[in-house]
Point group: C4
Chain length 357, copies 4
């Protein structure tokens, strides 16, 4: 790990204060890679818009002196329901990269999810978290074929990751980012799968999609994975049903932070129909657009079991490495507690009941 000592920036009182500081720390290309949505940014904006329409009703005078934010998820005990979403190439944002994130998440009693495109080795990142007590989860991208994908999953399992999250909503790369020298997907087998397409064929259908996973591949993988397997990137209730039917342990309702299909609905809006269909059979998590503890409360009030936080923790990473990430988590959790207190909830499980107005 780097010997660089980071100090927390001054004058930060909310998460939003980090955004301009992070922007100032990063070169414009990196900032846009982090921040932008795809296309015209419709889904990116829809994510935020959706949270603004969920009202919170204060419920004063409730006794919440025993309040806490603990939960158990896929067998792990967490101090709060805010996971750190898988984000690729974190050494783009800070030399300490994913290890800093792992330490910070563990220090705050929660878990990060390591991206398949992590810029440090899975083993190092797991180690950074385990020193403090909580192991990170691993996010799996399909590796173009079954065995290669299974090898990557197994490596994460051996390294000590307690859960696997298969991301299915981004079957091809859209970003045009050119990685700087020294930043790479450290855990992928070389050479990468070729995506050359014979002329006259479609780069999309016969190229990229020939390397994307199918429902059959998911079934195949499920049978070979002992760890809890969570599918990330579900927005349609029929797909949620099928994921559960294949024996997966959970799912993440997500539009990938508005970065893939522009026009995809806000994941918060997609959540309720999926929850009705899943009907409690597995935990349903949510990401895309979470920017405050109030937003965490809102997602849980609609029925999510936990949330994944994306870009905002990278703001903290960019500004102040592990300290910054830990601070972002702490701010979120404080806001979540305050919102619970004001809405009369002493336990996470009470939050969903506030919807019955």
């Amino acid at each position: 790990m780097s010997a660089r000592i980071d100090a927390l920036p001054e004058g930060i009182t909310t998460l939003a204060d980090y955004e301009p500081l992070a922007r100032a720390c990063l070169n414009p290309t990196t900032w846009h890679y982090l921040h932008d949505g795809s296309g015209n940014g419709l889904s990116l904006a829809a994510n935020r818009q959706a949270f603004e329409t969920v009202p919170l009703i204060p419920r004063p005078l409730v006794d919440v002196r025993q309040g806490n934010t603990r939960l158990t998820l896929f067998g792990q005990t967490l101090l709060h329901p805010i996971l750190l979403a898988p984000i690729a190439y974190q050494r783009l944002f800070h030399p300490d990269g994913e290890c800093a994130t792992s330490m910070a998440a563990a220090a705050q009693g929660g878990a990060m999810v390591i991206s398949s495109l992590a810029s440090q080795s899975i083993e190092e990142i797991v180690e950074a978290g385990c020193q403090i007590g909580v192991a990170p989860w691993f996010q799996l991208y399909w590796q173009g074929e079954r065995e290669r994908t299974l090898r990557l999953a197994r490596r994460a399992e051996v390294a000590g990751c307690p859960a696997l999250m298969l991301t299915v909503d981004a079957p091809f790369k859209q970003s045009t980012l050119v990685l700087p020298e020294g930043v790479a997907a450290e855990n992928l087998e070389q050479p990468l799968m070729a995506d050359q397409v014979p002329s006259g064929q479609s780069r999309v259908f016969q190229g990229w999609m020939a390397q994307a996973p199918t429902w059959d591949d998911l079934a195949w993988l499920r049978e070979r994975i002992r760890l809890p397997l969570i599918v990330k990137g579900v927005l349609h209730p029929d797909d949620a049903e099928r994921v559960v039917g294949l024996g997966c342990d959970g799912l993440v309702v997500s539009n990938h932070g508005g970065r893939v299909l522009d026009g995809a609905p806000a994941s918060l809006l997609a959540l309720p129909p999926i929850l009705s269909r899943v009907a409690g059979r597995v935990p349903v998590l949510l990401d895309s657009g979470i920017r405050s503890g109030c937003d965490v409360f809102k997602a849980l009030s609609l029925g999510a079991s936990a949330v994944l936080l994306g870009r905002p923790y990278i703001w903290g990473l960019a500004c102040a490495g592990a300290f910054g990430v830990a601070h972002v988590i702490r701010l979120m959790r404080d806001e979540l507690e305050a919102t619970m207190a004001l809405c009369g909830c002493a336990e996470l499980s009470q939050i969903v009941q506030t919807r019955n107005l």
Copy 2:
């Protein structure tokens, strides 16, 4: 009282004209303390937005030559339904502080509500109003424990306040304002209740909320208070029901001017379901977002008995002390009268009937 002579600013024709003048009078920190909402300002904006959606239908040709704006509230006769909301530390805004507000309210035939965090003594403030004829009410914050709270309530009663308003929606301080030398909460017992929390415990749940009132505390207090007791900060009909059930004399539907839980609904939108539940058993007042006499009319048209005006009277205070506050009230009342006249209402009680379109 200060010997400073304030002149009314020139060219003011509506309340809104005071806002930029007040901003210019105050240092930015004080202005932001006064003006800002919490979080992203969703509730602050929702308050204004809500008023814009209530239409007014002009009803010409009605004979309103006997028109007036009088009402009786909790036994007091008031010349108009515009109370001045409890606002802390008024010496931040003008050296004459709460005494100026008290005089102005009385001079205009209405009442102010003294904050628990007033920067002058309750007795002085009451005196300033009584000289002119109307005594201010007192707003009670829970003082961390029962007896301390009761002592504060009793002091206000003895000083001559005719009604008590217990604010329940702000169980902990969110503002980061540092009070300048010479401005303090003059009426609170020293030392303040500690809010230290053992490490590993939550500053929110085990800290602040351990000092917040509960329904039991409210019941306890109600039994010990002879004055009319009004609960401020209710937004959920179930809570309104419970407040009435405990024998309180009234309630204020309020989101605290958008200063506490960002995402709380506009109080104007929360009003109708609460009114249906309360069904006339006690008067229901409204605050948060009132900026004109039209807004007062709108609140009354939905069924409020009276309103509390917040930030705008502080604009007047900042610009011109007692004269400014009196002028703000006069402008509001003139607009209310004009709106009544244009809508064919000669009495406040007719306003609610204009809703039956």
Copy 3:
């Protein structure tokens, strides 16, 4: 009439092109007097917004070669349904004042409505129009008492006005405009009614409203007026019913261009319920927010018999006197014809049928 020769401004293709030119011709005070709405401009904006929500469905391939825009209204034959609304003190905007407007309206085969607050004598204005062939109507403000009001109405009748329009929605003056030397309400009896109010009484209720007309006054007036009597400023169906019940000949659904009660609904939105109540017994006119021939079509498609155009013709007056007013009317009428043609209507009476989608 003035000897000043006005030339039409260059490069005008739509009504909207006149607005910035007019602004440039007028001093800011006069411009704001003309342009602004009351309060926060809610009703002013609502007027425009309302027109934007009425869709037009093009109906190609209809044979409209016999098309025209003629109508008969209160016994008068007009070449088009665009009346010029009563606007006070037109010498503020151009030295030729109301006479220019009267000539232009007549030249275009339509009628203006002379304001009670005209800055030239009724007789001169009527004369200016009659030379060309069409006499202007007269708008009556209540003159504080019955006989004085009747005298003014009689004067207009004698001068040759074929219809009277009693404006009831503006019982008191809200503008703070100070009239420049030489511009005055030429047709009002001196001295004006006093609006002094004994101290302790309300300037609104006991002052202004004591001089406003009531339903009884309207009944009294109706009995004494032989000309068609139209009531301007109705927004509530109950009031429309009562106006018709008193034997008036028509009414104007109007919010006075958003200049009186801020928060009053857009008149276009108030139109349909009024039309259902009136059920064809008298013609219903509309004003407030008309800015193009499309808007005229929209108003007629909802059921209005004709419209009154307000501010836009004053833009023409300010820029180029009678020529400008005539040009504005011509542009509006061309747009109305084009809209009719595109929507497959050859007669005004077919427009209302386009609503049955």
Copy 4:
């Protein structure tokens, strides 16, 4: 054809990137002629707004490795459903004019529709496309009388156009564009029909509309045309019914890109009721507002058989002639393929089923 060699502009990744480049290539008058809508631009904005409200639901894990975008339309096989809309006077935008467009469309396996107001001869334009393999269609404007119109249609047929599209929604010219020297409607018979109107008559009704086609004219034309005849500019279901009833082969739901009747509904919103009425009897195409491959997907998801792309291909033409047009089509098609892949569609015919959420 011009010897000018155009290079593709650098750094273009989406269609939208072309817009500012095109603006920079064109003089402001030409740009405004291309870009502006009529009136206040309500319909222009509504077109875009409508697409933003159609959500796309990603459907991961579907096997789309056999995916393609082929379709058969009016007997022609096309590689994708993106036709190039008829746009007048293309030599305004690039010296190679319509011939460049024709080549590019053919090279990309699709068809352009030649405007009646093309600035090159029909024969040349057809030839430019046929060299590569696909013949352009021809758009017919009514030529003021039957025989003249039929002569123009026959000329296009003889030249080799496989389909005719009669535009009925623009019976008169609204643009004030003055054509520069050397750019003209090359294919119209001289002299043009006169549009002089005797004084006292209406330029709209007795002038322009006397030269516009009627339902009878359409019936007359239909009987005399062997080629597939498609009617462009239908927004009302009754008109769609009548078009089908007369034996036409298809229709284009269009508001002419917001260029004719300002206030006409977005064509995307007009599509569903028309599709229900047509009930599959003929293909229904859509244009107005298509700006990306996502938009094509959305139109097809609502039931359109294909779309016409308007202004955006002119951006490509202005920047880089035939290469630019081909690039624009390629970008659109790539986006369409990506959207299909992400939404789990391997064939165009599956797109409409994604609506059954």
